[in-house]
Subunit: 341 residues, 4 copies
């Protein structure tokens, strides 16, 4: 059901024109003529009304506004699938009672450092190893990642620790090589509306971690999940990582209310990245706990054995001992909300 609000003074002619248009799409209309406005209620399966059609109606003479009532996403919606989606990766479930922790460095820097970190986070209780081989950097003069070499190091670290691997894709041309090495493909915040990339991973046979865009609404984010799912890949995890606001005390503003909002709107698992959300090491632990209390299904946390030497995001990376302490502190919080770490 959609609603079309007509301008004050819309002519009979204009109204007839719109009604005819809708009826030609097999829809029924319900005219409500108020004292100040006329409103057209559209009855029938308006999901068949495309975005273009809606835009066209909005552009028609006499129309003041079109209010879309139905959600524009389907596969991602709770209405489509009532029960939570549980995604199994290498034997670990994301979206179940247990809250898995993904941890590791921002970027894969070299084999030794990566393995060192992987062993530490595994010992501390992490379930996944994160690490970027392809890095989206603001500056063309910055370290752009090791590429396939980095992927190989990730695979080696998985070999050693048994931890499945999460890594970011930036270019559809890298898909083949990335799927060869990783267990979860990450779509970064800057690529949340890189629609070609979404379609590409939608055809891959790997779970996807879809980060929220810096200034994306929850609805747009779900539409991007829908892009991936529309190609057949339904194993999508949504990762809140902070939005851009006017506040500068934190790197971004971690929107934890997105967690319960998403749990209502979608069946997909919700991951929280407190590291990017706040951008400062000392704030990661309280926000990780808050994320669990808010209902997050998983966490992704940056850990580095030597943050000061990290090639990116050292400022927000936990040291292994801090990470270990955090895991210990998270357990009772998880239990307090009926979950476990």
């Amino acid at each position: 059901m959609d609603i079309i609000v007509l301008r004050q003074g819309a002519t009979e002619e204009e109204i007839r024109h719109i009604v005819k248009r809708l009826e030609s799409r097999g829809l029924k209309v319900n005219l409500s003529q108020g004292t100040e406005r006329t409103i057209i209620g559209v009855i029938g399966d308006t999901s068949k009304v495309t975005e273009e059609e809606e835009d066209a109606i909005r552009a028609a003479d006499g129309v003041e506004n079109v209010v879309r009532i139905l959600k524009p996403y389907k596969l991602a919606s709770r209405e489509f699938k009532k029960e939570n989606t549980e995604i199994s990766v290498g034997g670990t479930i994301v979206g179940g009672k247990k809250i898995p922790i993904m941890a590791g460095p921002c970027a894969v820097e070299n084999r030794t450092i990566l393995t060192g970190i992987a062993e530490k986070v595994q010992a501390a209780g992490a379930s996944f190893l994160r690490g970027g081989a392809y890095k989206p950097r603001t500056s063309p003069y910055s370290f752009q990642g090791l590429g396939e070499e980095g992927l190989r190091y990730l695979a080696e670290a998985r070999e050693k620790t048994g931890l499945p691997v999460v890594t970011e894709i930036m270019d559809p041309r890298d898909l083949d090589v990335i799927v060869q090495y990783c267990d979860i493909i990450q779509i970064g915040a800057r690529n949340m509306q890189n629609f070609r990339l979404l379609l590409e991973v939608g055809s891959a046979n790997k779970p996807v971690l879809l980060k929220r865009g810096l200034s994306s609404t929850i609805k747009e984010w779900l539409m991007s999940a829908e892009y991936i799912m529309s190609r057949g890949n339904h194993n999508v995890m949504l990762c809140e990582r902070g939005i851009r606001t006017f506040e500068t005390a934190t790197r971004n503003t971690l929107d934890l209310s997105a967690v319960p909002v998403l749990k209502q709107l979608t069946h997909l698992p919700v991951v929280v990245d407190p590291s990017h959300g706040v951008g400062k090491r000392s704030l990661v632990a309280p926000m990780a706990k808050a994320a669990v209390a808010a209902g997050a299904d998983a966490l992704i946390i940056e850990v580095h054995t030597n943050p000061e030497e990290a090639m990116s995001d050292g400022e927000q990376s936990l040291k292994p001992e801090e990470f270990e302490k955090l895991i210990v502190e998270l357990r009772p919080v998880a239990e307090a909300v009926g979950r476990e770490i």
Copy 2:
């Protein structure tokens, strides 16, 4: 210490002018002439440099930027007072290990409803009764609150339940009557930078709950606390209640990272208002838990016996049974982070 960055090509004359100006204020300067920029480091107690002085330097010829290193607030800062401020109100401490809950309706509507709610929230475990007698409403045609009559009902409800009372002030002319009845004076989000009102409550002998402005940075918020404290009233609680962002799925975006940020910057207690933060009843409970996990010192929650008949904010008010359930669920979360409800 402040830093003044000069424009590329600033003349000797311009530099001399600024240096002289600073030295006339008893400050020492440290000139760093780089290959591309000259920078003036200002040494001494630059807190004596007023905002005007700083603006003037920023406006001077040859100046590109002024970087203020020292915090512009003093009394509110952790540097000024290392240990947490604990504010005792009618025997209940705000800022201690125990997390008190403030609860009640958005607006005081009449004696019967208010007393009913007060008794329910007290039974459920609340420590304070909230309720507005003066209501800031977007529309002049909306219910503006009962005024002094509402204050009397609050006092009566306190009599019956023993719960100290939190209520909002909107006008300096109402201070005398408000302090007569209430235990904590609330400054609402829209008045966070109503500086005259801040000065007024700064002279009052009552604790103040200072809500964060809709689009106020944490720094501006602390400056508003400083306004109150500068008049001698050091009993200020800071209340996060959501900021304005582009997201429309929630009424505001509850910035929980403000909690740990504030715990670092200031000794003042931090309160979280999840009701206004999210604006939807079903999201209040998860965000209340998240607030506690993030380190909040107190919560303020809207409760109404009949949200549907509430004269404002019914949409975000918990029913008493929901509130009771929430308190029960909050206890283990508080314990998980070393606190108690």
Copy 3:
């Protein structure tokens, strides 16, 4: 006409309840039962439905959303008054073909400086003198304005130059003294939702310049104008002065599209303040021209004979010769859009 969207699965009972409620207010309803949602169209004068009533319906069981079609402001709307409001102040019209310029220092600092500036801006072609005697400053330690002394200097400067005077009010208790001296009362951005102050100036017999709040929507801004008008004072000018966004290259983001939006929604004159909008002297001139091209009815610009010694906002103040040059450059722009300076 308002629209109430019911949740999927809303019961007959819930629907009946809402319908009854509306009918008891003398409204007619129009039920549209779609395949996925039921929608209630409300017919009749829904402007009688108060904000409280609307909130209550929104809070009712079974309701997903309430879409308000009618504008919540009346007196301020174009529908209420088709022709542009022209406000005459000391013989100068604001809202007519001619675009008057208001100019002067941010704050009144002393008699000599103010008179000097007043004479310069008058000579350059300004029609009003601006200057603050009561200053809203972020810090309690900053210069807060000269108070009544400042008002006297403004009145003296008017005496000398013939320029009517615009000055800011911060506290309802200052109204009597301010109206004695000034010609236009300014409500600053931080007080746009200081509703008590709005009501107070609504009873005054002086035109009001209402600045847009830092993060206020155009709708909220018009509601604040409605507050003033609801008390009988219909001489309100709306002043765009920049909104708060994530961008830090400018002090605020001057939302010039607000100008044509307002010209459609309201009959009130629209003023633009490029000085606060951008916060940097070198950006004032291009944005002043852009404001005129966008359809502004007046400009308000900060001018100081010695920006470097200004007690506030020196960084964004034009020097008199820059102001003079700007006026000259603005003339052809105004003519290009059918106006004059």
Copy 4:
């Protein structure tokens, strides 16, 4: 020159560590020990200090903040190239005294409609034809563009009208085919930080129109231009098209102050897209005039012969007669600021 601010109480050891680190990169340091903070001024060519290095220092113990003084972009900066860059496309200059207008439909829909529009906009005075063959759509179920077929129609329309063609690239794999047909490659807002795509067009021998990201700062935008330029393609035009804010009265908030800011920071031409900036047909004309008054070097405007039937963005497309009228009205505005259309 960069500045490192140390935490209060940073140890000698920590300071030495940082100083050593900087000196090992061939930089000189200047220690300023204030009463409350120590500050390290870094002298030498700090542009050699990579982002990683800076992050590492920020992450080091004892460091409170790093203030970067030098701009992180070089090739795009005014310092690098003082005079305006003029980009010649098919004989038309972008960045010169004359302000060329790019016009056309949002999406290429079919040959007939496109040719029709192209002829109309050319007759009205446009210098370029815009039109998308690859469309970034929020929904996977929406029209995604005609692809190469669309490019062919664009080339045909160019043939007929002589207008060079601007079209969007979304995927690096489409570059070869796109450069074959178009004259200016557009990078859309959602791809402003699709760094792989930026590098790809950086190697192409075609001018690039780089739209500003929805929530990108001007600095990030210039960094994206730097990405393209770093690969050798210096023909980059920056296109302001509105940023995301809390305001919903317009589709985006057109940040016209970005125009004069950019004219100071960079030598690259600045284009304004009022159509996307406001999203409503009736607001396009005033904002187009304002853009010219603010100093824009070119405009890009959506025009459609039948907005109501447009497959996207009909709501914001001008009809040919409206476009023609706008061009006529723009001429005197351009002349008023020393330019021409």
